[in-house]
Each structure stands twice: as structure tokens, then as C-alpha cells.
Symmetry: C2
Subunit: 330 residues, 2 copies
């Protein structure tokens, strides 16, 4: 791939995922970082290579706004937030500046069901500018939505979809442990769920992608978050405290669950793995051992999908409508 | 999907897989069988529904040549042979008649490496006619080539690919048992391999798809077929007779195996399953329990991919370059 011009990237949002993308791009000859955007004053003016701990500058310094930054970038990698209400203005500004957008915003992974107005606005703007907008990631975007769809490709009938993902939060960064409420009391946990601070985002979007694609007649999508408690002390945590989340998202057809997703994400989880079961003909049972590590893999699928975004027709798309992303030596 | 016009199909080749496609289409409202082609005199004039054992006619009778049959079909489903040398003239005739083509021809699954001339001819003709040509199936086309590529989507580096598929030939149709040499002596088996009568087709094409996509620097693709012997009597077979095949296909970079595919297909196989392992960062280990049943699933993925073929740009394509096929209520 090195004989063609490298793809020029703008990095919008330089938290753990955004910097993971920077590090992977730095190892490739087919992509180059040309700009960074982050609203935090403490990173303004710094080089994204320095922020990523590479020990060298990449010639892409951080500004607070897109206007100053665009400088020839073709694709913006947006890793700023989980909620479309926060990320839509950023996407719109980038799209209007003529950039393709790939984002780890969870609600962008399949926004057509829960955010139809925002989806229409983004799609219209992208088509006007002749660019493509995509939400991606490991979850949502791959394990619990795209993969069950891909698994259904060998079925002549699917009656229902069941996916169960177990993630060991104890092997992940601190923010994940905070996100799942590790060490909280049950009361603190419930308050955190109420205010939206706890829990996995993008879960109902995963159900929506599956429901729309399989045309299963889903009329209602519901979600539930319960605490998973520690049954014995582990690290800094004590028995009876919250270990993490036990979250479900369900697609119902006339009260019957036809899409059932369950995510267990807690410290010291036994045997982390992803499990996909399709009831139908034939029945499909896939196991992804060890699960699919979150942050690093989310940065990887983002990088691996950039070429697919550039080749896609203009508009707001989703992972199910692009040729599958795969790694390639770059 | 029932509110749009059904997709009109021509079925070319009405053996087990071709008739499996007919049966699945008969259950759907979004596709309709309009014609059949088969060179065997004993099926001429019969309705494809009758041949498929549906107990009713579908209004698509079988002729010996394409010229008589086309009648408004948009897509031809070609299930006639494994070798491109046999199937290319059929594809060319269909393409020149303006039909899209989807085929279970194993060598068509990824013909660009081993059949570059034929690939160019088919691609040119398809582009001239504004239609799309695709080879598909469960294997090749899905389990041992497309899925490892999809699995690599979450990797930031892949060093090598290993796929192992175990199929119980004892649970499949007689032709499969014949194809793997069940009940033969070792001498008969070796003679059958020599003449190309035994063994899985499309294996080197699977390696080529992976090698090209991942850009792993593969310079040589090799293949080997060994007999798997019965260690005890089973059904009509005796210990010491051939139980089936142990076939490998390998992609080498300067003598080092970077793509290793192994297919064990024999009667009374223990624990049939597909196993995908990617060495790299992160390491990926997927298990598809029970394997992926061959004939029924190959007919299913063919039917499920038809919409993707219709939406694709003209030319000869491959499964890795289309949005993933998934089942949908039809």
C-alpha cells in the first residue's frame, strides 16, 4: 500500500481511544496524522505524537477548534463522546469542512432507530459535502451486532439472536472500572445508573442494527442495568461491593424477546469471552475466547475501517453496510 | 421486503446445492424462480419446484441452454461445477445475456491468483454488460477465508492465520462421502487424489483471498491431501479403510507458513467445529461449534448474498469486497 499517497487524518479527541488510534497510525506507512483537535487547554499546541507517548513529534499539533486544524485532512477520527447530542455538532462542522468522519461515538454506531432526526441531518449534510460518516468500534460496531448478522449469513432462517459478552474489567484501564461502578455500594451504583454515569453505551443501538437487518418485527427495544456484586474480596474491593455491571438490551416482538444481548463487565470476571447464538436453521453457536479486548481493539477496528469509509458512497452509513474491515499491512 | 418487486432468478445447475437454493427461494416472497437450466436430458421440461421435491410447480421449467431460458431473470444462480474451466463459458453466456451471476463454483470464490486470465475475461465482460459476478459458499467463501479476515478487523497486527475445520462426513449426503474417499483403500485414495476426483476444491483460493487482503507477502501457495484412516469399524466401513481427507493449504512467505488452513472431513469425525486463530495483537481465537453444515448453509449463503450482488458495482467481485451477507426475513 506504500506506493500510494498516505491517507491524511485529523484526530478529534485525544483521550485513551483517540491516542490509541494515533499510536497505530504512527506504525503505518499508508496513513499519516496531520492534525489534532481537543478542547482541553492543557493539550493545546502539543504534538499528537508527544501526547501518545511516542517520544517523537508527528507534525500534527493540537488546536481547540476544527477551523484551525483541517489542513488537508481527508478523514477525521472522532473519539470525543458517547452521546450523539454532544458529537453531532462536531461531526457537522467536519462534514461541512469536507472531511469524511469515522467515530467511536457509541450512539452513532446505528443511530437510525433512536435518533432519526439527527441521522437525517447528518446524512443530508454528508451527501451535500460528498463525504461518508460512520460510527464504529468493538462494541457497539462489531461483537454484539455486526458479528451476529455475519453469522446469520449461513442461515436459511433465524428465529432469535442471543449474544453474551463477559469482559474482565480488572484487566482494563481505570476509567472502565469507574464506568462499571467497581467498588461502589449498591445505592451508589443505582444513583450512577440513574444519572447515566454508569453502564455501557450504544447497547440499544446494537439491538436496533440487528432488528432492522434481520427484519424480525421488533416493535420495542428495552434496556436494564443491574449491579454484579463481589462474592469475595478482590484487590482494593470487598465482598458485597459492586464488581461491575450486568446489563441487558432486548428487542421485543409483541412482547417476545427475539434479540437478547447481555453484557457482564466486572472486575475479576471468570473466563472472559463473547458468545453468539442464533436460534434457527441451522442453529449457530460461536465463541470468541478471551473476549475481544476493548480499547486497543476499538482503536484497531477504527484504523482498519478507514479505507472502507473512503471508498463508501456519501452519506451516513453503518458497519453492516460496508464491506468488512480487515487488518492489512500498511 | 415484500412491498418491492421480487428478484427474478434463473437456476443454472439443479444438483443438490442448486435444488437447495430453489427450496429456500420457494419459502421467500422477495425472490421468485423464473427459469431453470440443466444439461441432463432427464430433467428437461420439468419444473424446478417438482425437481426440488416441493410437490408444486414454481412456473420455472428446465431447459438445456441459457438462450431459451433467460425470460426476464435478473440473477443467475450457477451451481454446476467446481472448476472455472467448466463454469467460465456458462458465466460468459449469462453475463452477455445481461444477467448478474452468483455461483458456488469453488474456483470462482477468489480466482484472481490462480486464474488471472479467466478473471480478467469475466471482469471485462461483466463490466461491459453492467452486471456483477460473484463466487460464494460456506467453504470457500465464508468459514476459512472471509471469517478470518473479518476477525482481523479488531487486530492492530496479524503475523499469521490458522484455520482448522473438522467436518463429519458421516452426517452429510453420499456425494460428500465419495468426495472424501470414505471406504477406499489407501491406494484407491491416492489414485483419486491424483486424478482430482477426491478432495476439497477452492482451498488454494481461500489462501489467496487471505494473502491478498492482509498483504502478508505470500509468495507461494501449496496444497496437500492425505488420507485419514478409520481406527475402528464404523457403519459400512472397516478399520484401516479411508475415513476421509486431511487436507492442508498453506501460504508461504520466503518458506515460512503465514497462512495455514487445514480441513479434516471424514466419517464419524469427533466434535465437528471450525477454529480460527490469528497470531498477532491481539491474538484472536474463535470457535464455531458444530462446524457450519455444508450443503444447506451453502445454499443459504448463496440466497442471502443475492441482494449484495444486485447492489454491487459491475465486474467480478469477491465475498471480501461486498458488505456482509446476512439473513433477512423475505
Amino acid at each position: 500500500m506504500s506506493h500510494t499517497q498516505p491517507i491524511r487524518l485529523l484526530h478529534y479527541g485525544l483521550g485513551p481511544i483517540g491516542l490509541g488510534v494515533v499510536r497505530q497510525v504512527a506504525d503505518r506507512s499508508d496513513m499519516v496524522s496531520v492534525a489534532g483537535v481537543d478542547i482541553r487547554p492543557e493539550v493545546a499546541g502539543k504534538d499528537v505524537g508527544e501526547l501518545a507517548g511516542l517520544g517523537r513529534d508527528l507534525g500534527a499539533s493540537v488546536t481547540a477548534t476544527v477551523g484551525e486544524a483541517v489542513g488537508g485532512a481527508q478523514v477525521a477520527v472522532v473519539c470525543t463522546g458517547s452521546h450523539l447530542s454532544d458529537v453531532e455538532p462536531q461531526i457537522m462542522e467536519l462534514v461541512q469542512a469536507g472531511l469524511n468522519v469515522i467515530s467511536t461515538c457509541e450512539e452513532l454506531s446505528y443511530p437510525f432507530w433512536h435518533h432519526p432526526e439527527e441521522s437525517r441531518r447528518i446524512d443530508d449534510a454528508a451527501k451535500r459535502s460528498g463525504v461518508t460518516v460512520l460510527g464504529t468500534g468493538v462494541n457497539p460496531g462489531f461483537v454484539m451486532d455486526l458479528l451476529p448478522l455475519i453469522a446469520s449469513g449461513v442461515c436459511l432462517r433465524v428465529d432469535s439472536v442471543y449474544v453474551r459478552r463477559v469482559v474482565d474489567a480488572g484487566t482494563r484501564r481505570g476509567p472502565l472500572q469507574a464506568k462499571v461502578g467497581a467498588g461502589m455500594s449498591v445505592e451508589e451504583f443505582r444513583a450512577g445508573v440513574q444519572t447515566g454515569k454508569l453502564g455501557h453505551k450504544g447497547f440499544v443501538e446494537s439491538v436496533a442494527m440487528i432488528a432492522d437487518a434481520l427484519d424480525l418485527g421488533v416493535d420495542t427495544i428495552s434496556e436494564n442495568i443491574q449491579p454484579k456484586l463481589l462474592d469475595r474480596s478482590f484487590g482494593p474491593w470487598r465482598a458485597g461491593q459492586v464488581a461491575g455491571i450486568d446489563q441487558t438490551a432486548t428487542g421485543l416482538r409483541q412482547g417476545e424477546a427475539v434479540v437478547s444481548l447481555r453484557l457482564l463487565m466486572y472486575v475479576n470476571a471468570d473466563d472472559p469471552r463473547d458468545r453468539i447464538v442464533l436460534r434457527g436453521v441451522p442453529e449457530v453457536r460461536w465463541t470468541l475466547e478471551g473476549g475481544t479486548p476493548g480499547d486497543q481493539a476499538t482503536a484497531a477496528i477504527t484504523v482498519n475501517t478507514i479505507r472502507r469509509v473512503l471508498a463508501a458512497p456519501p452519506g451516513l452509513t453503518s458497519m453492516k453496510d460496508l464491506p468488512p474491515a480487515h487488518w492489512a499491512r500498511g
